[in-house]
Assembly symmetry: C2
Homo-oligomer: 518 residues x 2
Amino acid sequence: MNGAESLVHTLLNAGVDTVFANPGTSEMHFVAALDRIPGIRCVLCLHENVVTGAADAYWRMTGKPAATLLHCAPGLANGLANLHNAMRGRAGMINIVGDQATYHRPLDAVLTGDVEGWARPVSGFVRRAATAARVGADAAAAIEAARTCPGQVATLILPADTAWDDGGIPGVAALPLPPTGANSQAVETAAKILRASKQTGEPTMLLIGGAALHEAPLWVAHAITQATGAKMLGPVSPARIARGRNRVPLMRIPYPIDMALDSLKGIKNLILVGTTAPVAFFAYPGKPGYLYPEDCNVHVLARPDEDAPAALAALAQALGIQQNARPRTDDRKSNVVATGTITPEKLAQSLAALMPEDAIIIDEAISFGRGFFPYTFNAPNHDWLQLTGGAIGAGLPMATGAAIGAPERRVIALQADGSAMYTVQALWTQARENLNVTNIIFANRKYAILLHELANVGANPGPTALNMLNLSNPDLEWVKLAEGMGVAAAQATNMEQLNELLAGSLNRTGPFVIELLI
Amino acid sequence: MNGAESLVHTLLNAGVDTVFANPGTSEMHFVAALDRIPGIRCVLCLHENVVTGAADAYWRMTGKPAATLLHCAPGLANGLANLHNAMRGRAGMINIVGDQATYHRPLDAVLTGDVEGWARPVSGFVRRAATAARVGADAAAAIEAARTCPGQVATLILPADTAWDDGGIPGVAALPLPPTGANSQAVETAAKILRASKQTGEPTMLLIGGAALHEAPLWVAHAITQATGAKMLGPVSPARIARGRNRVPLMRIPYPIDMALDSLKGIKNLILVGTTAPVAFFAYPGKPGYLYPEDCNVHVLARPDEDAPAALAALAQALGIQQNARPRTDDRKSNVVATGTITPEKLAQSLAALMPEDAIIIDEAISFGRGFFPYTFNAPNHDWLQLTGGAIGAGLPMATGAAIGAPERRVIALQADGSAMYTVQALWTQARENLNVTNIIFANRKYAILLHELANVGANPGPTALNMLNLSNPDLEWVKLAEGMGVAAAQATNMEQLNELLAGSLNRTGPFVIELLI
């Protein structure tokens, strides 16, 4: 057994059965091993940032790490932006980066680069296999790192000779440890704050993130707020929220700085549940960096690596709250689609009316998407996945990975055009794998968010700035781009057309692109 | 004057008048400054790897650094692959990476990343501006670094507040120093080796790289080989070679390992002229890493940072060689196009027959391109630019940057389909800037080179491997992809169609894509 074969066995031993891949020469023995040993689904992507973005969403939907296959330092580099997003969203995955043979690396052939240096800022674990005999154990360690709660990017560098040399020994990854349970002192303090604020009326807020955004813990948080008068809110861009007409209608901190500051205005106690203290996405002249007031007391109920759902349950118990009473919310349901000219709110209304039960929404809508959230509370139950790290180009890859991870569910990607262009290659993988993804591209033909930001910094755009923020001249034609990658596509210029295309796409097998001219 | 304005003035002071850009929020003040201060051409690219690849080729054609504008750590990350190529090809450019404001960075907002850590492996210079008053001086230092012979990637990190704060002071970059002149001892030793080998018949070779691949020094090298019986060869993938029917027909070291070893077989003395000792692109089981024989004596006539043309001239003088006698080579010219089915050799023949004088050839043809070189020696004079660092996805961006740098010349990109997909967004910039680029996409619909490599490592591809190396299912449709980005396009399936499309494209203004089914 060579090192590459021991790696495949190690992955299979741990139940890692999906590889998103963009291989090169140094990975050929691994590819050959995948050929010889059945059991792993290999998904080819035409760019590494599709690979890593897909692996991120696969984790979000399955809670299992996928492996990625990347070629040398530049191949890793191409996937770093979505690894950054994965790191910020605390996704687990195992990057396998093929590299120069151990004895060839010192010769500094032109494709040699600093794999470790590039991997470290986005990885919780980086290791270079030294010999074929070590590959299995190193891979097991990488899998363990990837599955460390709440999830980590683990990068295993595989020199070509450690893959092709004989002497491979399959490794066995330890089962993932459960997250650190509720901290009783933190629970007691939170209970004290909530009891006191109920008495005094001091504005108090739960900021909910991570695993506490799943359906059940959100109901617990909801019950706590109902009993205590506290507010609750989600972070700007969480990895996944359970939403829909039978779930808690949780709002997020808005992205625009003034709205973000408003959302926490006057809060005296901020209780963090599986997330960190909120800060502004960017600094703006004369505006604060922390989003909560200076006199706000910040209390950590559960860190991101702790068991936030357990902490919420313990808090509810400490407060003497019955958790089994869920409000009936079916009356919020709507089947009425919107008509006429296209607005974000109308798109959300039609989406809520048409989407099937248990859809997965991928949201990289950027500027156009800010009206979506309130109008989809009454939609059928769904999960909402967002851009977690601010590195655009995550949406189409995430749609791809989510569909691989949850093949029985329909994926709907709400995708800005500028961001879509960063990883447009994902459409090809959607076609090849015949994934049930409806991609709605919001073609405003500009970097609209940057025009807002330019105004935010007090600049009046002249021709040079407009030229740099404008995506027309020439217009991107999304129907042709999609068809060029084997994905059926059509254009909608009003809500009626959108409704028809959206409904049609939801009934077909395989991907579809709707170019929505807005 | 704010820091951003001082940066623009510093660039203009140094004659840096071209910015390839993919800006984000943290760069808005720089964009606003570019708006207010005329003189810089801003070229918008829809992906950062287009930005950096274009800046690389701009340097190769002009010898001047362009600036790039990138957004935070992930924006830099997206451009790293072509920065790797630029570093390996020793191109100069100034990366301006906008980042979180100095006082906001410690808050670790989600888009915060390790800009320095990612920049260092590909940069000869990395600096973070600390205050608006320092931006001008820091930018001047970056420009000086970029122009340090033979060229360096310089990365200047621009925190948002150093751009928007007042107190900017334009910097003045020192003029570039000339390269280190010929080393007289190295010249004397080389002369001794060549005189001795002429006597003994010991096989001796000049390996020519860097600036010695320009027209005049190649003739000097040619004269030296004629006088001494030495051979001459170029590296596998140099940044730029002057070629054509009135120039020296220099062959390169071939890429495939066995052919590469053959090309240096039996050489007893290897004289390096502006390049480094040749090593295999990758290690292969049982094959050596250095491409020259174990008993070969390697002598450095000029390092890459030294003046290789001057060293060649001094060597010719030491050997008493008249340099002004150039063979007449016009009789090698051909105007006959090839017909029938498509082969690399026939494509080269038609290219040689049809291309205009002073064309720029961009070669990321990968596996299909190996037959091109010998059949284009008799072409009109042209420059041949290649992938220098092995990180695929350089071709279309380089074609874009070369056309910006040399607008009076026709650019012809010879581009493999798999590699083209990495940076397909470059076509949009070609359309927007109306660049005279003919892009010929070799649509073999597979990662053909990897199928060779898989065979090289002794593996017989099964269905999994074939699936991962095959780009069909679905086929990429290049005519639609190009048209989707505003570039006119057509398909050729035989040489007659190719000849017609190629000839037609050379007479039109603006870009064109030929999908060549091979």
